[in-house]
């Protein structure tokens, strides 16, 4: 699948805005704890949002779920490059 990194960033940003979390992030931003501090339900929701948008999401597909924004973006970049 071909998904632009910026498109995935926009999807994530839309979700964060809806759950009232900071929308400024970098690849290194942590999803939990001192970063965005998403709880388990918010993480599950992000997983559903991404699955609805792209039919696949790293939280469901990967054996180790991503811990940073960059981890999510890298998942889709890898799919785009066939990796």
């Amino acid at each position: 699948m071909q998904v632009e990194r910026t498109e995935v960033e926009a999807t994530i940003r839309g979700f964060l805005q809806r759950v009232k979390k900071p929308t400024d992030f970098s690849d290194d931003t942590l999803l939990h704890g001192d970063g965005l501090n998403l709880d388990s339900l918010e993480t599950a929701e992000l997983s559903a949002v991404l699955e609805d948008a792209y039919e696949t999401d790293p939280f469901s597909a990967e054996s180790v779920p991503p811990e940073t924004i960059g981890g999510i973006l890298d998942y889709y970049s890898a799919l785009a490059s066939g990796g």
Binding site: L41, A48, F59, S60
Partner: protein, 452 residues
């Protein structure tokens, strides 16, 4: 069953018992047909059979004839797939299928209804036998349909309390393969009213029948009523006059009862609690959601008694099924769990959904029904379905699908749904909200099974 036709025919043989577009069957004609069928079943020694018939009047004639002959009939659901029918026949050990469907004509054991009547026959028994078995399939909303063994004497127990009401036209909004459909049949015939058969079981068909065939009484599921209201709004025009509205098969939320009272101001509104397994347990006619707490205070003589055990309704019923096909008989004095979650709120017993519909969100058990009630109060939402969506992080999350009202902005409605659910406990808040064209329904009830 035969008794109801005989009583009706004795008073007024030409009174329509079943009406549909293009066809009307009187009490007299149905009785004659039923008695012929009984004679044929007895002569041909058909003691149990599956039934695949199109028109309700034909189904009724066969059911009544079977009750007179003491033969166990089982009306199959209206499926087109002959393999499904064959599979059902295998599971229920039906060596005989009585049908009017051309595609089944060549199947082993298939007997065309007309062919049955042309075969060996004898005089119909004067009276029904002591045992009058009947097999009724459950909806199958929580798995494969089960077959509940009933007896017409139990199904007809309440008929003696139904007052004559000639001229009342009841819409048949359920199939006659459903226990609820049989309840309406019994009520309509016991009151010497007319059963109106629409062209299909969708609310759009029901509305057409209501308008064109003079229906004044309708019993249907809350989901069916919600779709009917949607149909009314989208087609415009005045709401037809209905005298009696009954809801059953699912919990009837307070907001729906309010909308029905406003839309149909002349209607008396009741909701019944009944199930294939326990029979009919009574009704509430006060226009309020849930049941009065007095249902928990019935004495040992009552046909049906109820109690709450760890949030689940249990019932002791002497008018329920004899047992599932292929399983030991049930003790009529034994208490059985219903699978319905309930809660005592003030002076009411309120329904919270089915045990099987509980969504386990990270170990927190969430009932979908209260969430649906919140969502359906959001302007722009016609109908909603709440269910568990599998999720690797928490096991499941609460998901909502909504049918958006015509003209409403789906994105705005979705935002409003999320906003309305903000006050719910965190685990109960929908984490997935989607606008859809239609809601998954089985047997007129919302299918809240988790999506795969």
């Amino acid at each position: 069953m035969i008794e109801l036709l005989r009583q009706g025919a004795a008073v007024h043989a030409d009174l329509p018992a079943v009406a549909s577009s293009g066809r009307s069957d009187t009490y007299g004609s149905l009785l004659a047909r039923a008695e012929s069928i009984a004679g044929a079943l007895v002569a041909q020694r058909i003691t149990r059979f599956g039934l695949v018939l199109e028109h309700p009047a034909d189904v009724i004639a066969v059911l009544a004839g079977a009750s007179l002959a003491g033969s166990e009939a089982c009306q199959y659901p209206p499926v087109e797939d002959t393999e499904v029918i064959g599979s059902l026949a295998d599971r229920l050990d039906h060596e005989v299928l009585i049908t009017d469907r051309p595609g089944l004509g060549g199947a082993a054991g298939a007997v065309e209804l007309d062919g049955l009547l042309r075969g060996a026959t004898t005089a119909a028994p004067a009276e029904p036998p002591g045992e009058r078995p009947l097999l009724v399939l459950t909806t199958g909303s929580t798995g494969l349909p089960k077959a509940a063994r009933h007896d017409w004497r139990r199904v007809l127990r309440a008929a003696s309390r139904i007052a004559p009401d000639e001229g009342r036209r009841w819409l048949l909004a359920y199939g006659l393969h459903q226990f609820a459909g049989l309840q309406i049949l019994v009520h309509a015939l016991a009151s010497r009213g007319t059963l109106v058969a629409p062209d299909g079981l969708q609310p759009v068909h029901g509305l057409r029948a209501i308008r064109e065939l003079g229906v004044t009484a309708v019993s249907a599921t809350p989901t069916w009523w919600r779709f009917l209201l949607t149909e009314l709004r989208s087609t415009g025009g005045e709401a037809p006059r209905i005298d009696q509205i009954t809801l059953g098969g699912e919990a009837a939320p307070a907001d729906l009862l309010e909308v029905l009272a406003t839309t149909f101001p002349d209607a008396r509104i009741s909701h019944v609690y009944a199930a294939t397994e326990v029979g009919s347990t009574g009704s509430a006619r006060d226009g309020r959601a849930g049941l009065p707490l007095s249902v928990l205070e019935r004495d040992d003589d009552a046909d049906v008694a109820m109690r709450v055990v760890e949030g689940e309704l249990w019932v002791r019923s002497r008018v329920g099924m004899l047992g599932y096909y292929g399983e030991p008989p049930v003790d009529p004095d034994a208490w059985r769990p219903t699978g319905d979650l309930v809660e005592i709120v003030g002076d009411r017993l309120v329904f919270r959904g089915r045990v099987s519909e509980i969504i386990n969100v990270g170990g927190v058990k969430v009932a979908p029904l209260p969430i649906e009630e919140v969502v359906e109060r959001v302007p722009g939402v016609e109908v909603a379905r709440v269910f568990g969506r599998p999720n690797r992080m928490t096991g499941a999350i609460v998901a909502v699908e909504v049918v958006v009202a015509a003209g409403a902005d789906p994105e705005a409605v979705i935002d409003a749904v999320r906003e309305a659910c903000q006050d719910l406990p965190a685990a109960a808040r929908p984490r997935s909200v989607r606008a859809v064209e239609e809601i998954a329904v089985i047997g007129g009830k919302r299918n809240r099974k988790a999506d795969p």
